[in-house]
Symmetry: C2
Subunit: 346 residues, 2 copies
């Protein structure tokens, strides 16, 4: 990586020089950002609003593999993953802080790539970078992102508000990011065995993008507002549909019935899962990293979104004693179990 | 570490189980904390206030050495370092998020120690733990803390407000944390050469505590409010007095004259520095990690704090062209240079 390219040693710049170099081209866009980078803390104003905050820690070798994740994509994804948590509260993210720990193997040009991805995400999603921390690291790359946002009072959607009879909705399609990861892992193994073989990703663009370049669903938050729908509960799909549905049921003290045939799976996801010997529905239930929004709405709101092609109604909330289950395409009842990603069992 | 004690494998708990286990005993204390741990994001309210946010990333082998830093102290210090940034804005921290990456060498009991330190700091400084992220790590321990706080409108102190003639003040004493670190490093080397030799820290309690168990100066923020003093500029001493004074001068577009004889140095710091062949003033100027507050006040405020034994007036702000200098005890003029800690030159 970067071996035949220009390499500038970060130590030449020092911490303050590096931060200035990396963040000079970021412009502050929000009135709520009173003071961004350059003091002990950032200063903001959110009068009349609920303030939302979420944080994620991404570690090399655990959350990403630099052998197939381009650094610019990594910067983009680190931001998106975090914004997604704010959207999941029915909020609008407005600021982020980014802390990065870098081992000496990374030249300045590598960090610039990460920040290019961060800036692309900030520009596209209208986010101010207002602070952070930069340091060397003994081993590997560490990225910590905190996002700050707001919601009008009374519009925050928690996980615990689902009521019996509510419809369970999900945006976009599921399982793609997981199947995309399997393709990247397969090609990495082939490359490790024979470095002369070029990776074969032809025709897999969509699922590779789902894995490497996800987008938080800001558009869904906007759409719900336009439709005047306030979800009764909402969560983003980071660990897999099953895990997220169970969070809503547990915190709302309810049960759920999902219908397998209603779970949205893109044809490329479906076909590639089959090629790899995987069950597409299992990929959707347990794959994770889709960053779609899963939410519950009152039945009275059904007419408002029934024609929206980007939102699927996949089930309904039941009383707690009915349990959490999925009716398969062949009409068999399965109990839903969270087998999502466990960061401590790798 | 922990070899003869109980060891519980973290993987048994899983991520959600671990977070619940570690954070169950944390109680939410602030009205501004509407929703803490347990949803996609935390929810807060700061109507009528300025919102402050600051973040730090602490990496094993860079920011701390577990061969002499007890885990409980590490948890405490990770919080304090971050709160200090909010105090440096003349603000009150109210919430933190904590993200931790753990390699498999850490059993549950080790993480519990870190959280004990975090909880002690939260309890003593009246802070709500409202979120975070927990993950395994391939290499070493990673801690990322973000603190959130507030200030009444018009009371935030930036680095850029110092005016010519303002007095330069610093709380507490300086250089102790650095000299304490030198003692810990010396004893580590002796131990590595002969593991049978017990560390000799006798009579060094104060400076060891300055290094391992620093406290952010909330009391100074309270005191300034009681005295009705609004500093014209403020910063916390994390990288060393010289570096911090230069930040204020650079951002305020001013010069400064400091007097060596006025720089507060504790007798134990002074004596130990001498024993180690170090210049105590250089330790104060370039040592860092003291987490004292450095601030400038109008001359008109002098009478209000001239008798406070915990605040030293160490110089005054000059016009920019006079430069940034220190008058030594022997009346020699030295140019101030930031030789503070560079996280990229280790």
């Amino acid at each position: 990586m970067f071996e035949n390219k220009e390499r500038t040693d970060i130590a030449e710049l020092g911490e303050f020089g590096l931060i200035k170099h990396l963040t000079d081209s970021f412009k502050v866009k929000h009135e709520s950002s009173i003071k961004g980078i350059g003091d002990d803390a950032a200063v903001m104003n959110f009068d009349g609003k609920e303030v939302l905050i979420s944080t994620d820690l991404l570690l090399e070798g655990i959350h990403f593999d630099l052998s197939y994740v381009p650094l610019m994509h990594l910067g983009w994804k680190a931001v998106q993953v975090n914004l997604s948590d704010i959207y999941a509260m029915n909020g609008m993210p407005t600021q982020i802080t980014v802390s990065i720990g870098l081992s000496s193997k990374f030249p300045l040009e590598a960090v610039e790539e990460i920040y290019k991805g961060i800036q692309l995400a900030c520009d596209k999603f209208n986010i101010d970078l207002i602070g952070g921390d930069t340091s060397s690291s003994k081993q590997g790359l560490v990225i910590s992102v905190t996002s700050i946002g707001y919601a009008e009072k009374g519009t925050v959607c928690y996980r615990n508000g689902a009521q019996e009879g509510d419809l369970v909705c999900v945006s976009g399609d599921l399982g793609g990011a997981y199947v995309g990861l399997q393709i990247l892992e397969r090609e990495k193994q082939i490359f490790l065995e024979n470095p002369n073989v070029q990776p074969d990703l032809e025709g897999k663009d969509y699922i590779i993008e789902r894995q490497l370049k996800p987008e938080g669903r800001r558009d869904i938050v906007d759409l719900l507002e336009q439709m005047k729908i306030l979800p009764t509960a909402m969560i983003d799909v980071s660990d897999g549909l099953a895990s997220e549905v169970l969070h809503i049921c547990q915190q709302s003290d309810k049960g759920v019935t999902l219908y397998e045939e209603k779970i949205p799976i893109d044809p490329m996801t479906y076909q590639t899962a089959r090629e790899l010997g995987l069950d597409p529905t299992v990929c959707a239930l347990n794959g994770g990293e889709d960053y779609e929004l899963l939410f519950t709405i009152k039945q009275a709101d059904y007419d408002k979104l029934k024609h929206d092609v980007d939102i699927s109604i996949i089930g309904h909330i039941t009383e707690k004693n009915s349990g959490c289950k999925m009716i398969s395409k062949s009409n068999v009842v399965h109990e839903l179990k969270a087998q999502g990603w466990n960061a401590f069992k790798l």
